[in-house]
């Protein structure tokens, strides 16, 4: 016999909210990259304006967690699921801030002719977005193995970051007029690399929620 339907429903609701916040963040990041690649300032502005909704969502999820703790006295894996939610939303919020940072760069570069076509940056973004998406699925499924697998993809993101750095360095050495723009792209690369790190954090929390153990995977 199962009991505590209301409690179970609230926990499910919490997980759905996390997925929704994750979707919004992915969407923002995708848009910011499209805005950068296509020099689309309308899209970039959309991301910047939409960030308030993500911040609101973070507060809303915090409230759900606080109320669950106050009213239901969660223990064991329920408690870990709630604590994990509180941690994950911080990472999601930071990732969303980076999407805003990228959008601001897109706006700053709107009239410039790019020194090179953007190929690796969107690739980095795609991998990072998929990492976030999969890590949130792992959260809902309590799947520690999957979470650990996801963190390995961060090596690819880090590799791309280093590669982009070297490439941009050659452009800067070639012509110092490239420096401003190349530096902006370096920042984008850095933001995407950070997003990969945040996704890794999410995975560590997923492992904690599922097993109660803390694993340091962000090497």
């Amino acid at each position: 016999m199962t009991t505590r339907h209301h409690y179970s429903k609230e926990l499910e609701h919490l997980q759905r909210m996390i997925l929704r916040m994750g979707c919004m963040m992915e969407e923002a990041l995708k848009k910011s990259m499209d805005a950068l690649v296509n020099q689309d300032i309308t899209l970039a502005q959309e991301v910047i304006d939409g960030d308030d909704r993500l911040d609101d969502m973070e507060l809303e999820i915090e409230d759900i967690c606080a109320k669950l703790i106050a009213r239901e006295q969660p223990v064991a894996s329920d408690l870990r699921t709630i604590l994990t939610a509180l941690k994950i939303i911080t990472d999601l919020e930071r990732m969303a801030d980076h999407a805003v940072d990228i959008s601001k760069i897109a706006i700053r570069l709107k009239d410039e002719t790019y020194i090179k076509p953007l190929i690796d940056l969107p690739r980095m973004a795609d991998i990072a977005i998929q990492m976030v998406k999969d890590s949130l699925e792992a959260y809902v499924d309590h799947d520690a193995d999957k979470a650990e697998e996801i963190t390995r993809r961060d090596d690819v993101v880090d590799g791309l970051n280093r590669q982009i750095f070297r490439e941009l360095l050659t452009y800067m050495m070639e012509n110092q007029r490239n420096i401003t723009q190349a530096t902006s792209f370096l920042f984008v690369s850095r933001y995407l690399e950070r997003i990969g790190d945040h996704a890794t954090n999410v995975c560590e929390w997923v492992i904690y929620a599922a097993t109660g153990e803390r694993k340091e995977l962000n090497s």
Binding site: M1, T3, R4, Q73, A76, S77
Partner: protein, 252 residues
């Protein structure tokens, strides 16, 4: 402080007639710790706590196999039951003061154990009531009927009555289930104080209470111990799925 095993139970089976109420129960209960038993109704926790001071001796048709060692001595073989219950006292779910004065309730135990000296009895009464955090509330009504006290005071009186015979272990079978939150909090604070000097075993249906006050928790289900361990571990990351389901209220 090194933990010292106060009670060691090995392979305990208990039958009421043909019905097996406890199956293969083994656990160590450490000195100066609070051990909480949790589990759904009818799972054997009360039966088990009673085996620790042989309260089940009074029930006809009980068969007990296995060992209960108290400080290394088998309580079912080498122990006088009166002496045993002096050392291992018990507090029940409903406060059950004797229908006499507060003073006489506390003095009852020492008197039957042969204490006659008035001064000494006064001393025991005062110390026991202080030990049970009740002295301040009843010092001026020691010779009034104990049944005139509130429920929470009566329960602390019962604890004081146990302390009066200088026990070593205090067993409590749902001691706060009939009390309001404030009385409950007082008893919980008291348990925390008492464990410095005594070993405490408590049966509770209040999971949060087990979480708050115990050092070790044992989870019983249908006469078996599913899991025993440090309370933090049981409530934070239990080994067994059934423990997890029970403590998070997923079955009842």
């Amino acid at each position: 402080m090194d933990t010292q095993c106060k009670l060691k139970i090995t392979d305990l089976d208990l039958f009421y007639g043909d019905f097996q109420a406890l199956q293969n129960v083994s656990m160590d209960i450490n000195a100066n710790e609070v051990m909480a038993f949790i589990g759904p109704s009818g799972c054997g926790k009360s039966t088990f706590i009673k085996t620790i001071n042989r309260m089940n001796d009074l029930i006809p048709d009980v068969t007990i196999k296995g060992k209960v060692l108290y400080d290394g001595v088998d309580i079912y073989k080498d122990f006088d039951v009166i002496e045993l219950r002096k050392q291992i006292g018990m507090v029940f779910q409903k406060p059950n003061p004797f229908p006499m004065t507060v003073y006489d309730n506390i003095a009852y135990g020492p008197r039957i154990h042969g204490v006659r000296d008035k001064k000494k009895l006064d001393d025991i009464v005062e110390q026991s009531l202080k030990g049970a955090a009740l002295w301040d509330e009843v010092a001026d009504r020691l010779h009034k009927p104990a049944l005139g006290l509130s429920g929470g005071q009566q329960q602390r009186l019962c604890i004081a009555r146990v302390l009066a015979v200088e026990p070593d272990v205090v067993l409590m079978d749902e001691p706060t289930s009939a009390l309001d939150p404030i009385s409950t909090a007082k008893i919980e604070d008291l348990i925390d104080e008492l464990k410095k000097e005594y070993t405490i075993v408590i049966v509770t249906h209040n999971m949060q209470q087990a979480g708050r006050i115990s050092d070790q928790t044992a989870f019983f289900l249908t006469g078996e111990v599913v899991e025993t361990g440090p309370t933090e571990k049981i409530f934070y990351n239990p080994e067994d799925k059934r423990t997890e389901d029970y403590i998070s209220g997923r079955f009842g």
